[in-house]
């Protein structure tokens, strides 16, 4: 497992966020093109449910390394502490971004 001060942590959170974001848009677009859920269902569709589950999983995936980097940062030397703390914040804000962008699946119909 990568050390909490590894520089890759600085970008891994946003990379995961970006992949999730692209996946959400792609899945939504393709499903709406191929097999759109009925508009009368509003936001209560299987598609919204799956997108929500995906959002929650990715959020969790981002929160765990945030916690790990933050916990480890106290014991590290200055340069490594800098990397670990910035990484923890990046993961945390990536998780917050995931929740924020994913929230509309609770209220909007998918294919209108």
């Amino acid at each position: 497992m990568m050390s909490p001060s590894h520089p890759l942590h600085l970008v891994l959170g946003p990379i995961i966020w970006a992949l999730w974001f692209a996946l959400m848009y792609a899945v939504l677009s393709v499903v709406c093109q191929v097999a759109p859920p009925a508009a009368s269902l509003g936001a209560l569709t299987w598609l919204n449910a799956k997108l929500l589950v995906l959002t929650l999983l990715v959020t969790l995936l981002l929160l765990l390394p945030a916690l790990r980097c933050w916990r480890a940062s106290g014991e590290l030397a200055a340069n490594q502490r800098f990397m670990a703390r910035v990484s923890a914040a990046v993961y945390l804000l990536s998780a917050a971004s995931t929740v924020a962008v994913g929230l509309p699946v609770l209220v909007l119909p998918p294919c209108l």
Binding site: L28, L108, P109, P110
Partner: protein, 845 residues
Amino acid sequence: MTEPVNSPDAALHRRFEKVWGNLPSWGALAAVNHTSIGLRFMVTGMVFFLIGGLLAMLVRTQLALPGQEILSAGVYNQVFTMHGTVMMFLFAIPVLEGLAMFLVPKMIGARDLVFPRISSLGYYCYLFGGVIIVFSLVLGIAPDAGWFMYTPLSDATHSPGRGPDFWLLGITFVEISAISAGVELVVSILRSRTSGMTLATMPIFCWYILAMALMIVFGFPPLVLASVLLELERAAGMVFFAVQGGGDPLLWQHLFWMFGHPEVYILFLPAAGIVSTLIPVFAGRPLVGYRWIVLSIILIGFISFGLWVHHMFTVGIPQLAQAFFSVASMLVAVPTAIQVFAWLATLWTGKVRYSLPMLWIFGFLFVFVCGGLTGVMLALVPFNWQVHDTHFVVAHMHYVLVGGMLFPLLAGFYYWLPHFSGRMPSERFGRWGFWLTFGGFNLTFLLMHLTGLLGMPRRIYTYEAGLGWDWLNLLSSLGGFVMAIGVALVLVDFVLHFRFGRRAEANPWQADTLEWATTMPASSYNFISLPEIRTRHPLWDNPQLPQTIAAGEHGLADIDHPRRETWGSDAVTGEVRAILHLPSNSWLPLQAALLLALLCISLLLRSYPLALLFTIAAVLVLLRWSWHNGAHPHADPVDEKEPVDPPLHSRTLDGPGRWGMVVTLMANGTLYASLLFGWFYLWTVAPGWAVPQQDSIARWPLLASGVLLTLAVLWYRRLVARLRRSEDLSLQAGLWLVAAIGLGHVVLLLWVLLDASLQPRALAHDSVLMVMLIYLLIHSGLATLLTAMQVVRVRIGYVSRKLPYEPMVLQPFWSYTLGVFWLGYAAFILLPMTFGALAVPLGGQ
């Protein structure tokens, strides 16, 4: 003449200058030094800025009063298209890259960028590409479809002239320059910082430039691909964006804005870097929240890629998808706000000196925050629909770009002026220039928000009286001319200060960063000796540093050899790992750029035999360039007296060349990913997507070709692994074998392409397939050719177990070629088979 500031001993200076200096007279065209190239980028960029500004004045003159016919509709279209094109592609990006190229080595304690010849190539590509684009205006055949060249307006049917071709080919040419500078800046920042400079102590400006450069690497390839595809559609009749045949004009919009939105932040980040550098200096205290700012830079770098669809809210995508992009567009305001609060906190807790650069910084804070707020308004879908394609959007864009880029840029120019001339600007001229620019700008664009809210569409060449827009347009035009006078005053001040400016004293602004320890005006080598740096504020913590550097009391002060040397350091810790020996003056970049320019012109003239000739010539020059590396006599032949601890980088396994290759492949991979996106997009969404009834490609020979490629790559990896263990027995024979297997793969792939019954002029499906095959062929051919060259270099003695560097550089390219081959095979052959695309066109209507 007065002695330059921070100047070393004259004899020492002469010895360094002999190694690092440019050639005299016309020989200066062969310069590769970052100071010269950075300055050239900036001066050329400012010339294009003047051209773009003149075009803006024409626009404002035309719109000042209703019903004017000063410009015809056609000319007006060319003028506004070229204004946007020149400002975005020929001014903003290059001038910021030029500033970064000029400053970064001085800030990180290096003597040059790591790929100096690429700097020079980038400059010439930019210059020639820019001249080609602007020349279309002189000929009266400039592009006229808007700076984002939407299809179908820009296709051959609706724009049959050569205008879009100038745009597509010229911009692609210029983007070679931007991407090459991006690669160079990334690797330089990561691998050539002076001893001990960790990522945590790196100047904040370099964090911004690192993010900007990476964003260029990932952001520009989608537009390069889109431009190539549209040019293929226009010139060769292939189908990508035309609905007939299965294309989709919206694909252009996606690809354009995948570039276009990050572009805004590519412009903003370096400008914000200037702000974060200047504010602590004029507040007399360290930047508040360095770590928070690094965090916000990283987040902006990523989130800005998730906003592209907010330019497409009106094209008919589902509301939920719009909501994703709407929220992401609002989210990007968070890291931006973090920076604004950090700047305010720094100002609040410091003792601010209101010098000339700070005026521009305050102007930036006001204008950019306003632009950011209208940006949040535009992120709201219903409001966006309401003001779409109105002058409100034009006003917002100018608030963000002029406020977020031009104001900090001018602040930076004033701040670093002593580096260009050794002199200080005129406070009086400068203040007049600022207030006229600031006042004129707000008069023009603040009112333009209202013009847009009153419904005036953008890009109309005239309008009727009585619609409520008359007085607003008149005042906007008046403001435009006031702003032009302000900018003219600033430029006059810049020019005059070279003659009349007060001579700068050492560190005139009491700054903290290392560039103020260099000679002013700048020398070719930056530092006589390279200091160890363990702090974010080297000049505040050790004010004597410039003197000890000039006295040669730090590292690499020896110049009893012809090598241009700087430290090669660890990407994270900054500890020295090697000595980078950098190329000296070279004509090769100019030759290569000239041939590429001639290729570009041949394509414009649709003279394809000539284009082929220039392509071959350019490839030959580039191969010659690659030949002059490593232990070649023109680079650094093996010498018993050469340093061993640390060693020269070409004697190691992991120098900047390998990093440069990997970063270049990231850009290349983004281009390929964009092609895959295009394929899946057309397949699933294009309304007229159609597929041929029979297989158009021979699958089994393609598979066999892939097997050969896999064998070649596996064997190559084995050779490299042995080289890592210092074993070079039968290296030459092994490379021969790899080249031979690679050649077999290329021949088979070529046969598949020639044998394929593709109809690229009829079907988008076949057009994309053809592009994919050509892409694979180019990569495989190049990998094979470069390996064959390695065979010869082993024989001559340029590559061996003591010189293992070059095979290490080539290895990622082979691996990449293998990866894209199988990815392509899966996406273009296997997936359609699995999902039955050959029989039932998805999304076909």
